[in-house]
Amino acid sequence: MAVRISNKAGQGGPAAGPFARRHLLNGDIVFRLVVAASAALTIGLIGLMVFDSVQAAWPAFQTFGLGFVTGIRWSPSFTIYGALPFIYGTMLTSVIALLLAVPIAVLIALLVTEFLPPQIGRPVAIVVDLLAAVPSVVWGLWGLLVLVPFIRPIEHGIADGPGRLIPFLGPPTPGPSYFVAGVVVAVMIIPIVAALTREVFATTPRLQREAVLALGGTRWDVIRRVVLPIGRTGLLAAVLLGLGRAIGETIAVTMVIGNAPKIGGSIFSPGFTLASVIANEFNEATEPLHAESLVGLGVVLLVIAIVINGAGVAVRRRFERSAGRGR
C-alpha cells in the first residue's frame, strides 16, 4: 500500500526534508480534535444517560430514603416500593449460578489446558464457547419448556429430603423459582468463566509445570501446586466477571423465575431479580412513583454491576500484569 508523504504543512523552511521531525502537522490538530471530541461525546452521552436516570429516579430515593434499598415490600397497588426482594433475588440466583458454574468451568478449563492435546482441546473449547452464542430469550424458552419439567423430580427429591429439615430447601415446588433461574444462568455463564479460566491456566509458566513433572509429580500435582496457585488471581477475576454477567441476565431469568415480588422462603419459591422486574413492569408503570422506582432499581443494578465488573476488570488487570512479569 503506497504511503504518500504529505507536504501540506510545509511551504519550505525547516520542515523541508523528509527526515526532519515536524512538530504538529495541520491535519494532526484536526485529527486530535475529532478523536478527542468523539471520545468525549460518547462518554459524555453515556454519562448523560446515567445522570438522567439518577435524576429520574430521584423522587423514589427521596420518598423512601435508604428504605428504598432495604424495604422488603414492593407493592404498586399500595405505592410502596422497596428493592430488597429484588436485590435478594439477584444475589440468590447469582450465587446458585456461581456454585454450579464455577466448578464446572474450572474443570472444563483444566480438561482443555491440562489433559487434552491441543488438537482435541481447541475444538472442545470452541464447542463449550458455543453455549454463549445462544441468545438469552432462547435459553429462557428452553428453561421454561424443557428444564422446569425435567428438574421437577430433582426439586421434589431435595424438598422432600433435606428440605424437611432445612426450610430454605423445602417445598413447595411450583416450578419456576430462584433455583431454576440459577441453573439457567449457570448454563449461560459457564462459557464465559471457562474461557477466561482457560486463558488464565494457559499462561502458567512451562518451567514450573515441568519442574513438578520432573520431580515425579502427577498431573494433579501440577494443577494443585502450580496451575491453581499461580492462576488464583486470574480465577478470581473470571469468577467476578461471571458474577457480573449473572446479575445482569434479564430475559432468560424473567421467563423462569416465577415473578413474585417478595423474598421467597426457599430456593424453590418464585421470586424476582432487579433486571427481570424492570423488564416485567417498566412497560406499564403508569403511576409516576412506580416508574421512578423502577428506574431507581436500574440505578441500583447499575451500581452493583459497576462494582462487581469493576472489581473483575481490576483483578484481571493485576493478574495480567503479574503474569506478564513472569514468575
Partner: protein, 294 residues
C-alpha cells in the same frame, strides 16, 4: 516449600495416581454436563421448529391475523438486519475513534477510558434499554426502529472499542516509527497505515459485536416495541427476531404464532452461531497459536 516438593520425590502411590485420574474423570464429566444443555436446546428448537421451516418461512411476512397458520418471519429478519446495520453504522466509527483516542493519548486518561469501556462491556442490557427509552422514545414521542438501533449500538460499542484497541496495540513499533520518520501526519498514519493493517481485526471485532447485538431482547423491549408487519421505516416500531420470540413463543392460544416464533428462535440461533463462528475463524487465522506462556 522444599518439604512439600520432597513429597513428590516418593514413588507415585496408587492413591495419588487415583486422585490424578479422578480429576480427569471429573473434568470429562463436567464438560459433558456443560454440553448437555447445548445439545438439548438444539434438539428442542429443531423438534419445535421443523414444521414451519422452509424457504417461504424466511421470505414471507406473518399473516395479518396472527392466529392463522402459514406466513413467515421476513419482517423480523429484516427488522433485525436493519436495526443491527444502523447500530453498526453508529457504533463502529465511534468505537474506532475511541480506540484511537486511547492509543494516542496514553497515560491515565487512556487507562481510565479503557477501564470505563471494559466495565461497559458487561453492563446489563436492560439498563441500557431504559436509558434509551427516556432519552429517545419519550422525546420523540413514539417507539421506533431508530431507538432500538441506538440501544443496540450502545451494546456493541464497548466490544468494538476493545477489539479495535487490541488490534492497534498489536501493530509493530517499527511501522509506527517508520511512518513518523517519513513525516506522515498522525491522521494520515491512521488512515493509510494503521487502520488498513488492523482492518481484518476490526472487522472481526465488528462481527463479534454484531453477533452479540442480534440476540439481545431487553434493549428492544422499550425501544422498538415490535411490529407485526414488514417495515423499512426507522421512525415506526420495528420487529426483531428476539422480540418476536419473546412475545409469541409461549402463546399456546395461537399455535400458529407460537410455531412461527419457535422457527424464528432456530433461525436466530443459527444466525448468531454463524457470525460467532465466522468471527472466531478469522481470529484464529490472524493469530496462529495463542500465547501459551510468557
Amino acid at each position: 516449600m522444599a518439604a512439600e516438593y520432597g513429597a513428590l520425590l516418593t514413588p507415585t502411590s496408587s492413591a495419588r495416581r487415583f486422585k490424578a485420574n479422578l480429576v480427569v474423570v471429573l473434568a470429562v464429566v463436567a464438560t459433558a454436563i456443560a454440553l448437555v444443555p447445548l445439545a438439548s436446546v438444539f434438539l428442542f428448537l429443531i423438534t419445535r421448529a421443523v414444521g414451519v421451516l422452509g424457504i417461504d418461512f424466511l421470505l414471507q411476512d406473518p399473516p395479518g391475523d396472527l392466529s392463522a397458520a402459514g406466513g413467515g418471519i421476513r419482517n423480523a429478519i429484516a427488522g433485525t438486519l436493519e436495526m443491527t446495520t444502523l447500530a453498526t453504522l453508529i457504533a463502529a466509527p465511534l468505537g474506532i475513534l475511541i480506540a484511537i483516542f486511547d492509543t494516542e493519548v496514553g497515560g491515565r486518561l487512556a487507562t481510565g477510558t479503557r477501564f470505563f469501556i471494559d466495565v461497559m462491556v458487561a453492563l446489563p442490557s436492560i439498563v441500557i434499554g431504559i436509558f434509551v427509552y427516556s432519552l429517545i422514545v419519550v422525546a420523540q414521542g413514539h417507539f421506533s426502529g431508530f431507538a432500538g438501533s441506538v440501544a443496540l449500538a450502545a451494546i456493541m460499542l464497548p466490544v468494538i472499542v476493545v477489539s479495535t484497541e487490541e488490534m492497534l496495540r498489536l501493530i509493530p513499533r517499527p511501522i509506527s516509527e517508520g511512518a513518523r520518520a517519513l513525516g506522515l501526519s498522525r491522521w494520515r498514519t491512521y488512515a493509510s497505515v494503521f487502520l488498513p493493517t488492523a482492518v481484518s481485526g476490526i472487522f472481526t471485532g465488528l462481527l463479534l459485536a454484531v453477533s452479540r447485538a442480534i440476540g439481545e431482547t431487553a434493549p428492544l423491549l422499550f425501544t422498538a416495541l415490535g411490529n407485526n408487519f414488514f417495515s423499512t421505516d426507522m421512525n415506526e416500531p420495528m420487529q426483531g427476531l428476539p422480540l418476536l420470540i419473546y412475545r409469541n413463543a409461549l402463546n399456546s392460544a395461537f399455535p400458529a404464532a407460537r410455531d412461527r416464533a419457535m422457527g424464528a428462535a432456530l433461525v436466530l440461533v443459527l444466525i448468531v452461531l454463524a457470525f460467532n463462528l465466522l468471527g472466531r475463524w478469522l481470529v484464529s487465522r490472524r493469530k496462529p497459536g495463542r500465547s501459551t506462556g510468557r
